[in-house]
């Protein structure tokens, strides 16, 4: 069967907020609330509640202030909130997906979520707990995929199949968040020194 080619990507541009977080953009009251805003969990969620925050730096080392970030992750048992999740039903108190604009003042994004469980691949290999990130902004022509991993999971990280695709240990470290209690900082560097590893998913 003939395949159709994918529609090409285009930059989200500087006004991405109007479409994806309209209340943030000042287009209030079109929708009741911005989709993906607020905690990824509701009362009764299983797992350890955490805050993830960080900034996205450009090649000159400046935080960018017009990006939009989405995250996608498994619940505490490693199950995704998706019809394609075949291993069981995920926690009904956990959405698994969040969206945030970075601050227009200091470029910080924030998510309130939980620590995900490990995700087995079905062939004996197991993925370390991780959170998928997708970043769009003016100047980014194709949305950038990356992942955040947890520093306290060094054993699981050591055998994670995706981390092990990265040849240089210093580059692998760009995907490990910094932890202070239940607050994790995950900064993303688009280019240059300490450039974050981005994924061809």
């Amino acid at each position: 069967m003939a395949r159709l080619r994918e529609t090409p990507s285009q930059t989200a541009g500087p006004y991405v907020h109007i479409g994806m977080v309209p209340t943030f953009a000042g287009v209030e009251n079109t929708y009741p609330e911005d989709l993906g805003s607020g905690p990824l969990y509701s009362d009764g969620v299983k797992g350890e509640k955490i805050t993830i925050k960080g900034r996205i730096f450009d090649g000159a080392g400046a935080p960018i202030r017009d990006a939009c970030v989405e995250i996608w992750q498994a619940d505490a048992d490693g199950l995704y909130n998706s019809p394609a999740e075949r291993r069981g039903l995920s926690d009904r108190h956990f959405k698994g997906w969040g969206r945030a604009a970075v601050s227009g003042d200091n470029g910080v994004y924030v998510f309130e979520t939980i620590v995900p469980g490990k995700v087995p691949l079905g062939d004996g290999r197991v993925q370390a707990p991780h959170i998928a990130f997708w970043i769009v902004a003016r100047g980014i022509n194709v949305g950038l995929h990356t992942r955040m991993y947890f520093p306290q999971e060094s054993e699981a990280n050591a055998v994670d199949p995706v981390l092990n695709r990265i040849e240089h240990p210093t580059r692998r470290a760009t995907l490990i968040a910094e932890r202070e209690g239940n607050v994790y900082t995950f900064d993303i560097r688009l280019q240059g020194d300490g450039e974050t590893v981005f994924l061809d998913v």
């Binding site: 080619r5 999740e85 691949l121 997708w134």
Partner: protein, 246 residues
């Protein structure tokens, strides 16, 4: 056959040659925002194969109608009334149902309702500029809106964006996530635009260009523009009831 949201087969690797390069000096903002290292490739895992989906209770009755979803009751946005519609498909040509599409655009004068847009063209008090909908069983979708205006932007000294509508599209897997822009057939600004020009070939630009669709036009009300969108398709795997490679 439609696309099943419960399908757990991996996606065909993205052909990055069909997409803009991260670094394109013609689009100056990309210079400092483009990774220089190679992307790391790996087989899709459940993280990429699964993705968020949204229920019909997410969508309000006017969310798809930008002429009215910001307007005072009984009033409507100013501009040329248009219907933008099409089908969301995957690389195998199968419809993608129940997928969220979000759009945003300028008003008819080329001005965004955004705190950072300082273009001299006036805001329209009855136009916000965003809409969203879920694709139907057959992958089809439709928006009612006004034709957006062209606007100048700081890149080279005199760059103008052709009239366009931004599209954010979810498929069924997080790996299918796509943002693109829709242009209007016949707009002489299309070949002049450095952002359009980030797309490497004419076929790709044609895919982003909606065509006038008189069959879907509502007489004495609104002309229709057709814009089909293709997301990545899934691989055949030995788990299907047919030999690999079909």
């Amino acid at each position: 056959m439609r696309n099943d949201p419960g399908d757990a087969r991996p996606f065909i690797p993205r052909d990055l040659a069909l997409h803009p390069a991260a670094f394109d000096p013609g689009y100056k903002t990309s210079v400092l925002r483009s990774p220089r290292q190679a992307l790391i490739s790996f087989q899709n895992t459940p993280t990429e194969i699964t993705g968020p989906m949204f229920g019909h209770d997410t969508i309000g009755p006017l969310d798809h109608d930008l002429t009215r979803n910001w307007a005072q009751p009984g009033l409507s946005a100013i501009g040329e009334r248009i219907i933008v519609h099409g089908r969301l498909m995957d690389g195998e040509g199968r419809p993608v149902p129940d997928a969220l599409i979000e759009i945003w655009q300028t008003n008819a004068g080329g001005r965004y309702r955004h705190v950072r847009d300082t273009y001299v063209a006036p805001l329209d008090p009855n136009f916000g500029g965003c809409g969203r909908t879920l694709t139907r069983e057959d992958g089809s979708y439709a928006f009612m809106t006004v034709r957006p205006g062209a606007y100048p932007w700081p890149n080279r000294a005199n760059d103008w964006r052709p009239a366009h509508i931004h599209f954010s599209v979810f498929g069924h897997g997080f790996a299918q996530r796509l943002i693109t822009q829709m242009y209007f057939e016949g707009d002489p600004s299309i070949p002049l635009c450095p952002i359009v020009g980030t797309v490497p070939d004419a076929e790709g630009i044609a895919m982003m260009t909606a065509t006038l669709d008189m069959d879907a036009t509502v007489p004495f009300d609104a002309r229709a523009w057709r814009f089909d969108i293709v997301l990545r398709g899934r691989r055949s795997t030995p788990f299907e009831n047919r030999p690999e490679g079909n």
